[in-house]
């Protein structure tokens, strides 16, 4: 039940944003997509989600080419959480999460759909907010609603485009822990586009650096998290510290540039 990308290229108009991506993601793996802004991470996620049609190559899950699946069947295999959704005026949290059941029901949601929504609300700690209007939620709570919607979709492949960008530290950790646990428990395949290299190091199993539309480095943390690789991708000198807590990446300041922690508050 692996996700296999074969020679995938994606573009918009005359611009090619992603070229010749080959990737195999095994079940039970959380894969971090890393790279600078505009590197092509979101385009890769959109191509797998079926939002953007690839120029070349194929995307297969469990041996099935996803482009051959009916839209609704594909939506049962792959779910997608964008960086930010549109303003949701007039829906409560339960109704917003129920949108994730769209590929399953016809006119009315069934008991199974409501149960899936309840499960997703519980996993995201949204039970108490189920009847609240989404418009009245904080940014972090609204982000959790988006993730709950993807969970309610009960797909094997979970795609998240910067899922923690609007969250405070506690919920960043909670959300990434939840995604990791779900992925491991249910043998899902999760791809997370993420900017925080340190959080990615703690919660992801595999790492792919996308640089100028190509995969530049990949592998487990030992092979992917090298100062050379990260410096090349981000154009910034970094140090990678390895401690019993794991890997952490630290940008190196220019000579004479003082670290903020040494400044005295005025």
């Amino acid at each position: 039940m692996s996700l296999v990308l074969d020679d995938l290229s994606v573009g918009y108009g005359r611009r090619t944003v992603l070229q010749n991506v080959d990737l195999v993601v095994e079940p039970g793996t959380v894969l971090a997509l890393l790279g600078e802004n505009g590197a092509g991470k979101s385009s890769l996620i959109k191509a797998i989600a079926g939002v953007v049609r690839p120029r070349t190559g194929s995307i297969a899950y469990a041996g099935t080419d996803l482009s051959r699946l009916d839209r609704r069947l594909r939506a049962r295999v792959v779910s997608y959480v964008p960086q930010r959704g549109p303003d949701v005026y007039g829906l409560n949290v339960r109704e917003a999460v129920l949108l994730g059941r769209n590929p399953y029901f016809g006119i009315s949601p069934t008991r199974a759909d409501h149960d899936a929504v309840d499960g997703a609300l519980r996993r995201l700690g949204l039970g108490d907010l189920a009847e609240r209007q989404v418009m009245d939620l904080s940014g972090g709570q609204a982000q959790r609603v988006l993730i709950a919607r993807a969970l309610a979709q009960q797909s094997d492949v979970l795609l998240l485009d910067e899922p923690t960008s609007a969250l405070d530290l506690r919920y960043q950790v909670d959300v990434l822990r939840l995604i990791r646990d779900l992925t491991h428990e249910h043998r899902k395949v999760s791809l997370i586009a993420i900017h925080d290299l340190n959080l990615a190091a703690r919660f992801c199993d595999a790492f792919v650096f996308v640089h100028q539309g190509r995969v530049s480095h990949r592998g487990g943390i030992e092979t992917a998290y090298t100062a050379e690789a990260i410096s090349e991708v981000y154009g910034l000198d970094v140090a990678v510290d390895i401690s019993p807590d794991g890997y952490s990446v630290r940008p190196l300041l220019h000579p004479g540039e003082r670290s903020l922690q040494h400044r005295t508050p005025s």
Binding site: P82, P86, R122, E131, M135
Partner: protein, 360 residues
């Protein structure tokens, strides 16, 4: 995170008490009964006295085709030939505009758009103005040629917007901008016609743009009724797809299995046909297509499964009420419903917007 929900999930689903589940059917039932009440009131109101019993009798005779008793002939003519078409055209027209408004707002993800956003209304006005000048006809909706010209022009405008918009995958912003451009174009063309028009023709064009159901005809009621009966079941079937587009955006809706361009073009086409037909029958009745959906949304929420039927009823009630007021305030003079609806609707709308939760 799960522990905090233990109390909430105890005993079943996370949804609220039973009365909350009953709320939506209750609201829709009340709205349906209110619609019947408002239509009955609309039939009773007028300079000639008509009784409720008279309305019932007229319906029986009209539907069964029975012979009209001589002592009832006058009342029957007033009810069946004047009041019913007027009230029903008002209700169905308001319902259609509000329905079109709710669809446009959802599919273009913009609460400020109305059925007229794509330029349908000024295009219809241009078509009608052209025929009025060519034939020197007068009065809104009386001439079949005027109706046909308004309809063809409105549909042509919508086809242009959707045709050009398809080059950009029917993105909401593109459609709105194209609509603004064509609105300006048709307004300029109509102004050009007015500049060269005779006084009589100019007066007829201005009267047409007021929007009115004064000259309602049974065939107009039948056409609108047929359109609504045909489109509503389809729209309710597609409500979950409209929800996905409105509340998740095009990309996520696609990932949820929705064929976004197809749903958008078909449903916008339905809303422009409804709008074009109403405008061609009754002139430009603004505001109901904006305020009707908002009132419904504030009552029942944004889920299109319930919003579509409620907005349809709300729009119908608004227009019949406005028409009643227009017949009463300056009786025997009848103030066109297009003017009254704005005078009534604006304060209601401002109050609703300012009092809604989260308003800043």
């Amino acid at each position: 995170m799960a522990s905090s929900d233990a109390a909430a999930v105890a005993g079943g689903r996370l949804s609220g008490p039973n009365w909350r589940r009953l709320r939506i059917p209750l609201v829709l039932t009340i709205a349906g009964l209110a619609s019947l009440g408002i239509m009955a009131a609309g039939t009773l109101v007028g300079t000639s006295g008509v009784s409720l019993a008279g309305i019932g009798r007229a319906i029986l005779i009209g539907v069964s085709g029975a012979e009209i008793p001589a002592d009832f002939a006058k009342e029957y003519r007033i009810v069946w030939n004047l009041r019913f078409p007027r009230v029903l055209l008002g209700f169905l027209g308001g319902a259609s505009l509000s329905l079109a408004g709710v669809l446009m707002q959802g599919l273009l993800r913009n609460p400020l758009v109305s059925p007229f956003t794509l330029g349908v209304s000024p295009a219809a006005a241009f078509g009608a103005a052209l025929v009025i000048i060519m034939t020197q006809a007068s009065g809104a909706g009386t001439g079949g040629l005027e109706v046909a010209a308004a309809l063809v022009s409105a549909l042509g405008c919508a086809a242009l917007v959707l045709g050009f918009g398809s080059f950009r995958r029917l993105s909401p912003t593109t459609l709105i901008l194209l609509g603004i451009a064509l609105t300006q174009l048709f307004e300029a063309l109509t102004s050009g016609l007015q500049y060269f028009a005779s006084e009589d023709a100019l007066s007829a064009i201005v009267r047409w743009t007021f929007g009115s159901v004064n000259d309602a005809q049974w065939y107009q009621v039948q056409v609108l009724f047929a359109l609504l009966v045909l489109s509503l079941p389809y729209l309710l079937l597609k409500a979950k797809d409209i929800n996905a587009i409105a509340f998740t955006g095009d990309d996520v809706a696609t990932s949820l299995g929705v064929n976004v361009p197809r749903v958008r073009i078909v449903i916008i086409a339905i809303s422009v046909v409804l709008t074009a037909v109403v405008v061609s029958f009754s002139g430009v009745i603004g505001f109901v297509g904006l305020v009707g959906p908002h009132i419904a949304r504030l009552i029942i929420g944004g889920n299109h499964r319930y919003l579509i039927p409620l907005a349809t009823l709300t729009g119908g009630c608004l227009l019949v009420t406005a028409d009643m007021v227009g017949r009463i305030v300056l009786a025997p003079v009848v103030v066109p419903v297009g003017i009254v609806i704005a005078l009534i609707g604006v304060p209601i709308f401002i109050n609703l917007v300012l009092s809604r939760r989260g308003a800043t």
